[in-house]
Every structure is written in C-alpha cells, then in structure tokens.
Point group: C2
Chain length 269, copies 2
C-alpha cells in the first residue's frame, strides 16, 4: 500500500463519522504534515455514501496542532442541489476540534474554457534537474520528489533577505502514485512557507487556513497519472504575524491548471 | 443609518444565534448581493460576546440563492487558543442552510512585515476619473462608487473576447462610510465576475465559495477612513463550469494591502 493511502485511510463509522490515524511517513516538525490532514478531511466526503460529483473547493482551518495518533472526522452534507453539494467537516482529537473544513462538490459539464494565469515556460524537465536535498528535513518531505528551477529551500539559512519568495518546481509523490483529488489537495500544501524563502531564516510558523480550488476533473487527473506536476508558489503579503501565499499546480502536458491554492500562515518574529 | 449598517444589522438571539434581514439597497439580480451576505456572516462573530481579536480569514460557501427576507445565522466558537479563535457559521432561511462559513480571528502583535505583491503604480486619482455607469445594473452597484482605470464592466456586451480579465479601480461605499471589517469583507466581493470582463458576454453565474484574508488591523482600517481604496481583480482559470478569481484591496496611502480575496464561481455555457 502506498504511504499516502495508508496516511489517508479512513474507517467509515456510523453517523457521518470516519476514523483515521496519523502516519509517521508524513510526520512534520510537530504532528503530521498539514497537507495530509487536508487530504483526510477531503477523503471523508469522497467516500461518504451521499457524495455527489467531484471536489471544486476545499477550505481547511487548522485550529490546533494534531497529536500523533487516532482522530475522528465528521463529514456532514449541508446542502445538496441538482449539480452541487456543500459539505461541512470537523476533525476531533481527544474531545477537541483540531481542524474544521468545508468543501463544495459538483457535477461538471463541458463549457467554454480558457486559461488566464500562465505557467512559466521553457523550464528544463524534471529528468534534467537534481532532487531537492532531504537531510535534516521532516519525514513528510521524503514523500515528495521536488526538483526546483527557482526558489528552493534556502541552504543554508543565511538570513540574506530576498526580493521575492517565488518558487517553481516539478513535484510528485514519492514513490510515484497516480494523482487523485486527495493527493492533489495534499500536494497543494507541499510548498514551503514562503517566509523561509523570502527571509532565508527559520521562524516559528503554522498554517491557520488553507483553501484549494480544483480545476481538474477526474479525467484530467487520470491523464496526469504519476508524472511530475509543475508547481508555482509565491507570497502575497507579510504583516504583523500573518502572511498569505498562493500556489498553482499545472499538468506537464498542455499545460493545464490542475489546482490553485491559497493559505494564510501565522508567524512569530 | 448607513444602508450598509442597516443591511448587516443583526439582532442577538440566545444560543449563538443572530437574526438578520436582506436589504433592498443591496439587491442583486436574484436575492441579495453576496458581499453583504458575507459581511453578515462575519458580523455574527464580530458581535458575539466570546469574540477574541480581529478577523484574519473568512470563507463563505454559498449553498443556495438567498430569498429576500429574514434569516438566522448561528456563529459557534469552535476553538479558542491563546491568541487565535476559530469560528463556524451557518445561515439558515426557511429551515434550509443557504450559506455556511468559517472564520479565524486573532490578536496580532507587531513583527517583521513586508509586501510581496505590488499595486499598479501611477494611477490617476479617483477625483480625476468618471464614476462607472449604473443604468440597468442591480441595486447593490449603486452602493459602491467605482472608478475604473482598467477593465470596466463591458459597455456594451459585444462578445469580443479579451486576452485577460484584469480590472483596476478605485472603490468606496456610497454614501462614503469609514471602512471596517464587515465593509471590507463585502467590498472584496464587489469585483464583477471576471467572465463578464473576459468574454464581454453575460452568462448565468453564481459564486460558490469566497475566501478573504485580512491584512489590515483595526488601526489601519481607521487610518483609511472613508476614502477610496484601490482594487485589482483578475481571473486565474476558466474550466468546464467553474472559474476562480483573485482580488487585492490596497489602501490609498503607502499603499498597504488591506485584504486579498479569492473565489470560485459557477458559470453556464
């Protein structure tokens, strides 16, 4: 079984509840990597018997650091329309809410479509680039094969402040795994906190809210299979303890936008 | 009383509940303008007795079109930490959930701060620009004084597709009103659906999820007072029935980023 499937495995319980367990393969500095927590919160409506369509939007609010161990997710279909469905989720650990989330699912139909944002062009392919070093990094970073063309994790953290925090990289699961919605939700949180790239300094941080919009449908994800996707991440603004960052995830063919993602992050100092 | 205050007036009921009423001054094509609904959903935790700090993040999921008339919002503090507080909200009308929402509040402290996104520079001031025409537009557009320097609402809708959907404009409440968090939350939804700008064509649309990050604290909002703010909006991607758009709202002095906002919108055709 792929470590991601182990980490997002949910046992269906009665009354819209699902039991999961944190996974050492995706451990972060403290508790699990937030991307996998987001994936678990999406997985609950994905495997709920009332599910309609595929995910369009997911918002996860991280209310507290998860402890390693068991958790229970409640996933409640708040409203089901003809082609859309709204979900509300909560992750409880030790009697307290550690994360809350919401999702919109929809049945899509073919319409006029067009990109507006564009990916960087003429990047060297992932096969020609070295993999980002892993020494001294938390376990979850080993589960992503990252090959940067711009804005890698600073090595060393020399506190030489940069003019921007833009990163561009090829990234996929390690071991390779066909992309699906939970894996894409998790990957959208794999872009390092922009403050590390901008300041080349490690400060205490924690994502407080993460929103991902899914542009890919299931067919587009199947076509992507397990090949590297192109990620672009940048900060928007840093101010008095909170900054936000945005990311785009592009297919390698086309390229087509698979997801766009935004998060607001607490920082100290 | 300012029409915005009338439209966002909530009567506190027992058990974390608040009663509000849609307002003809902010009527949209069908039901109320979504920005004011978002503001009402933020207003509930703002006036809740358990409130800690100021808003950092707000996500609103529009599950159904609101009908004109009364509604009840439930605002529940999901988790309160030392300096952050997580909220979950639901807006119910006629026994059904019409919108769900979440918010993160926080007590900020002064830290290293820096912009990364930048506003357009050398724009003519609002006093030198004509106000956007209102004829034939829904009532809520009269409640915003909009002065475009780029990407206005197409006039006429001639279906000449544009290369992008970027808008830049000065905007403030009409009549002028000192900016506060609910007004900023509402203003972040005042950028027309990007598909109208891009395609110069009216198609049926509806925002399904809206996320706003507040970079301003109360002091910065007080300093902005009732002067025009600078808004920049653009689409990210349009695909098979859903597109997303992002906006930034800048102060006129500095300028400083007051809020960044993202939404995913359903469209037909």
């Amino acid at each position: 079984m792929h470590p991601f499937d182990t980490a997002t495995l949910l046992e269906t319980l009665p009354d819209d509840r699902f039991r999961g367990h944190t996974s050492p393969a995706y451990a972060n500095m403290v508790g699990p990597f937030g991307g996998v927590t987001a994936a678990c919160l999406l997985q609950a409506p994905m495997q709920h018997t009332a599910r309609l369509g595929d995910p369009i939007a997911l918002t996860v609010n991280f209310a507290a650091a998860l402890a390693d161990g068991e958790f229970v997710i409640t996933a409640r279909p708040v409203r089901t329309n003809r082609s859309t469905q709204h979900w509300s989720m909560e992750l409880v650990q030790g009697g307290d809410v550690a994360a809350s989330a919401s999702a919109v699912f929809a049945v899509r139909r073919e319409t006029w479509s067009a990109p507006e944002a564009a990916p960087p062009s003429n990047l060297p392919g992932p096969g020609t680039l070295a993999r980002s070093p892993l020494a001294g990094r938390p376990a979850w970073t080993r589960r992503y094969d990252m090959r940067f063309t711009r804005g890698p994790m600073p090595e060393p953290f020399d506190e030489q402040q940069q003019p921007d925090s833009v990163s561009e990289l090829w990234v996929r699961d390690d071991p390779p795994r066909p992309l699906d919605f939970p894996a894409l939700a998790s990957l959208c949180d794999s872009f390092f906190p922009r403050i590390f790239v901008r300041r080349r300094k490690v400060v205490p941080i924690g994502t407080v809210s993460l929103t991902t919009y899914f542009h890919a449908d299931a067919a587009l994800l199947r076509a992507q299979a397990d090949r590297h996707v192109l990620g672009v991440a940048r900060a928007v603004n840093f101010r008095n303890g909170y900054f936000d960052q945005s990311a785009e995830v592009w297919s390698d063919a086309g390229p087509q936008l698979l997801a766009s993602s935004h998060q607001v992050v607490y920082y100290r100092e």
